[in-house]
């Protein structure tokens, strides 16, 4: 299986400001001062190996959209945030408009940042494409209709040419899609949200975003530990610090890197991917949180336990399982 992050930002898309671009340029030029590069390959190596991560990368600004590639010709996509636009262009470039595709969508929930990419999804405008939107919510179409009705958007939902189907899932029920077994779990978020576990050929990926884990809810934690059990990859909403999640931002529906490590340790997860980044944080802050999480995992790891690999999502990241 392969996972590609098309959008990792929480709540609202963000764009990098000129100030931040200049910060990166300054860092790069300082690091390169006095250096000579024989060719582009040498320059590329310098960028990859010697520049600080936050100078050579950006976490990106698109909201939630994750591709789960099972090797099937059918696509699996989790959430339709603004990252969907780039995915849609990529798919269109790969196949061209004349070859219909099947897109299996799994919705964590229907908040705006998770559906806002759909009006900009080229495949939705092309006859012959099949778009199957799986959701555990009772009437997901209403959210899409509201988004693509006057005065919010000029193209009404009913004018989209693709074959769009809404499929209701029930938490706990396993369905087979694109060669994978898929199961949903109810999560704590305003209006409810759902995590999904995808399994294929002994590999497993969990997509769990917009999910608040309360410290006193030990029963809830046990449900998630079981859902995460032995997963090869868990994509986890770590938007807030633990302190924020229990104080100012309590009941805002998100979680922390601390809860992520705790649940993944308890579930013997192999790889944790921090996700749904706070839009107010710049690349330096997100990099700091990532490194702190690696350190926290090291501190909390039980004696003799294998390390939990900790990564942080960025737009364009691919994880091969």
């Amino acid at each position: 299986m392969r996972v590609k992050i098309w959008g990792c930002r929480g709540s609202l898309p963000v764009a990098m400001s000129t100030t931040r671009v200049r910060d990166k340029l300054q860092a790069a030029l300082k690091a390169a001062a006095g250096r000579k590069f024989e060719n582009d390959a040498a320059l590329d190596s310098f960028i990859s190996d010697e520049l600080p991560w936050a100078a050579s990368h950006t976490f990106g600004g698109n909201t939630s959209c994750v591709q789960i590639d099972t090797g099937s010709p059918e696509y699996i996509i989790c959430d339709l945030g603004s990252g969907l636009r780039e995915f849609g262009v990529s798919a269109l470039m790969a196949h061209g408009p004349a070859k219909p595709q099947t897109y299996n969508i799994f919705m964590s929930h229907l908040h705006w940042d998770h559906i806002m990419g759909f009006p900009f999804f080229p495949a939705a405008y092309i006859p012959g494409n099949r778009i199957r939107i799986h959701s555990c919510h009772p009437d997901p179409r209403a959210a899409f209709l509201r988004q693509q009705s006057a005065p919010c958007f000029p193209v009404h939902l009913d004018r989209l040419s693709a074959d769009i189907e809404f499929i209701t899932m029930r938490p706990g029920e396993t369905i087979n899609v694109a060669g994978a077994q898929v199961r949903a779990l109810l999560q704590n978020h305003e209006g409810d949200s759902y995590g999904y576990r995808f399994e294929k050929d002994g590999m497993s990926v969990v997509y769990s975003t917009d999910s608040e884990h309360k410290p006193e809810d030990t029963g809830g934690a046990a449900r998630f530990v079981e859902f995460f059990r032995d997963a090869d990859l868990v994509i986890f909403d770590a938007q807030y610090s633990l302190a924020d999640s229990v104080s100012l931002k309590e009941d805002w529906g998100h979680s922390s890197n601390i809860s992520a490590v705790e649940l993944c340790h308890d579930g013997h997860v192999k790889h944790l991917l921090l996700f749904h980044h706070e839009p107010a944080y710049d690349d330096n802050m997100l990099y700091r949180i990532w490194q702190e999480t690696i350190r926290y995992e090291e501190l909390m790891r039980a004696d003799g336990a294998p390390p939990l690999r900790v990564s942080s999502s960025y737009d364009g990241l691919e994880v091969h399982l």
Binding site: S256, E262, T293, Y296, L299
Partner: protein, 113 residues
């Protein structure tokens, strides 16, 4: 887990000793919450100088204690955090929520205000 208790200047000083982890967090949480039960009349200073490790469950106990204080008006401060505990507090940003002091005297003074 051994937790030393001392009444001092209108406050209770609790001094847990050893690791606060899966094996000890329940006792730690019970003792801490009991000390905070009296609401606005309660002031607790946690002497952390004897805690050489604080796991996620220990953080959870402190979170619950913090929420109890918010609900009932009790006061909680910490002092003399060991390096590892200080690091855990920094990563979790708990040092921005719980009042932490280097030394005992300013911690106790803050409770008397």
């Amino acid at each position: 887990m051994n937790i030393e208790t001392e009444a001092q200047s209108g406050a209770v000083v609790l001094k847990p000793l050893g690791r606060i982890d899966q094996n000890t967090a329940v006792i730690f949480q019970e003792r801490l919450l009991a000390a905070l039960d009296g609401g606005a009349n309660c002031a607790v200073a946690l002497d952390m100088s004897g805690v050489d490790f604080l796991s996620s469950v220990g953080l959870r106990a402190l979170m619950i204690a913090h929420k109890r204080c918010q609900a009932n008006g009790a006061k909680l401060v910490l002092f003399a955090l060991t390096p590892v505990v200080r690091e855990v507090f920094s990563i979790s940003r708990f040092d921005t929520v719980l009042r932490c002091f280097e030394d005992r005297d300013p911690a106790l003074t803050s409770l008397s205000v």
